[in-house]
Symmetry: C2
């Protein structure tokens, strides 16, 4: 059943004290090491940086969003360009989100039925329909290496019956997605998404039935949507035991640096989140001691790099007082330099996690990071 | 009189058919080849790009603006950082504009008297005074390699009497600037600025009296402020005959690609202008065939680089349709990629001009460039 030619996953090292592991996923566009953080390039661009910046930060995979790209520039323009890799000049791997999460965030602008979802564009109010088949077809045109199927993501908190409906609809849609996927190129992988809100029973059911499709990888969706951290980690821990060890496991929409380390300890391999890039554009920077609001007056005459141990372009060349000045005068380059720092910080966090897993020191690494970082963590 | 240790200028090649020449200026922060285009880094940053980008484009000198830096971040903060080079992480040469032009552009917000100029900040309305002495003192703190003195720049058109007043006041202020300059470090050069609007007589007088100070270089100010192109070139040609051949000659505030080539043919060596960077942020790009409005619908499916012969980062990697998309979605990286292209275009134009001068083909080069570029030139 599984299209084993689309991607391969090889586990390399296993942590002795946690369920963390390192590995490598190989796609048609190269390989990436796991655990991996994937920058979010919503509309074909990771906000405020460009492909050359991301390459210099050693990222090997980025995200694209089917919903945004379908609306702008439009699937036909990307098809004409020869696919998303050619359109946005990104040579590495690309994972495309189905747009399910974005559509479900549209509130009154959407209508869900068994067939799919009818929604109005957030740009011009025009009406569109996404079905599971259509989403896979768009993703085929985009040419992403890993495609996410249309899923039904519920809010937190949610009624048990609604969580159950989401699980069933997501599974129906997955079947239709898989049927469509089987007809297309075997160069693109399709992942399954486990839903079920914060109820263990529905998560179990969702996981078990999703696994029946024997897919190249599995994702956990519908977490990190407002539930308490404890509940999130409990469900993440509960769910992962049903996901096959030999497949990459993707925790969607995570997260803050400490949350990422927690999820790695549970055995998750892949992560994405708009937090580091959005924070950066709001002048909020990651440091080993916690978050730094670079616009604060205290940095007016602070000529040290953002983080003295960071090796990013921004920290190697520019100081806090200058970055603060760039934000104060509304310089677009402030957004780029801040984004480069935050993304590099997470890329480096993943690199150090992989190293700690390989040397059997992951628990200590996580504890040490948490004890420092928590000081400024919200 | 002249502080010969601050900068040196060596003429390398002379054009046989025009007065164009190539040369090299050496400052305390390295050397730059002339003719040179200097990107304008008003408030310590060339808008939308950063020092690392400028280095990759092979720029060796940028501008800073005394008026803007004095207001934000403030001279004291730059002094604390150890000067402007340290503050904005720029290792090459820096020329600082006096702020005269900016202050005179403030309209009702300024009052000029013999002593200097009293003005209100465009940021918060606070009151400030610039005297010739104070400007040199600020520039000493900024640590620029080439300092421009406070001058009196008139609008176009202007009364003969007003042009004459501007010349006299600029000369009085120059004397006071030179007196202050002599007391400070001999690592910074001071240029004289010739004023006189579009009258040849006042230009002659201004040039002759400015030369008496025997300065390391001379600038022509008060041109490219709205006068017709013919009048500008006529005055530029008239004025330069009074400026010593062995000193660098700086045409302030120029200009468009074709204007730059004209001024090089007259013997000018140094140029600055906000046009390429401002145009870029407005999605207007230079190509060998003229200006390109990249937001236009015709580029929607145009997967060619902006200019197929351009070697800039943007043209080597990204295509027109993608750049158009980035502008359409309001991506900050659009501003950077466009700015990189326009600045590289001018840097490359200077490089090719120097090469043409060296090989005795400058006239042909200029005519060929003009015949192509003029098609879309305003």
């Amino acid at each position: 059943m599984s299209r084993s030619t689309a991607i391969t996953f090889e586990i390399q090292e296993k942590c002795r004290s946690t369920r963390a592991r390192t590995g490598q996923v190989r796609t048609q566009h190269g390989a990436f090491k796991t655990p991996v953080f994937m920058p979010v390039g919503t509309a074909g661009a990771v906000k405020a940086v460009s492909a050359d910046d991301l390459e210099r930060m050693d990222f090997d995979i980025i995200l694209g969003n089917t919903y945004h790209l379908y609306l702008r520039p439009g699937t036909d323009i990307i098809e004409d360009a020869g696919g998303l890799h050619r359109f946005n000049a990104w040579n590495g791997s690309i994972l495309t989100d189905s747009g399910g999460f974005q559509v479900f965030s549209l509130g009154e602008l959407k209508k869900i039925n068994d067939d799919g979802v009818i929604f109005k564009s957030h740009l011009d109010g025009s009406s569109h329909e996404f079905t599971p088949e259509k989403v896979v077809e768009i993703e085929r045109i985009l040419g992403s290496d890993i495609m996410m199927p249309l899923d039904y993501c519920v809010e937190y908190p949610t009624e048990r019956s609604e969580a159950s409906r989401a699980v069933n609809l997501t599974l129906d849609w997955l079947k239709r997605s898989v049927d469509t996927w089987k007809l297309i190129s075997d160069k693109q992988a399709l992942f399954g998404i486990v839903q079920g809100s914060t109820s263990k029973d529905t998560r179990t059911e969702s996981a078990e039935r999703t696994l029946e499709f024997d897919l190249p990888g599995y994702a956990v969706g519908g977490l990190s949507v407002g539930e308490p951290l404890d509940a999130m980690l409990e469900i993440a821990e509960h769910t992962i035991q049903y996901l096959p060890v030999e497949k990459p496991r993707y925790f969607m929409g995570l997260g803050s640096p400490v949350e990422l380390l927690e999820a790695i300890a549970l055995g998750y391999d892949m992560f994405d989140c708009v937090l580091p890039t959005r924070n950066a554009r709001n002048a909020t920077l990651f440091t080993q001691y916690g978050r730094m609001i670079i616009k604060a007056a205290r940095y007016k005459r602070d000529y040290r790099p953002i983080d003295e141990e960071c090796g990013c372009l921004t920290c190697r060349r520019y100081h806090r007082a200058y970055l603060r000045h760039l934000f104060n005068i509304g310089e677009p380059s402030a957004l780029r330099l801040a984004t480069i720092h935050n993304l590099y910080f997470l890329s480096d966090l993943m690199r150090r996690s992989r190293q700690a897993i390989a040397t059997g020191t992951y628990s200590e690494f996580m504890e040490q990071f948490r004890s420092r970082f928590v000081s400024l963590e919200e």
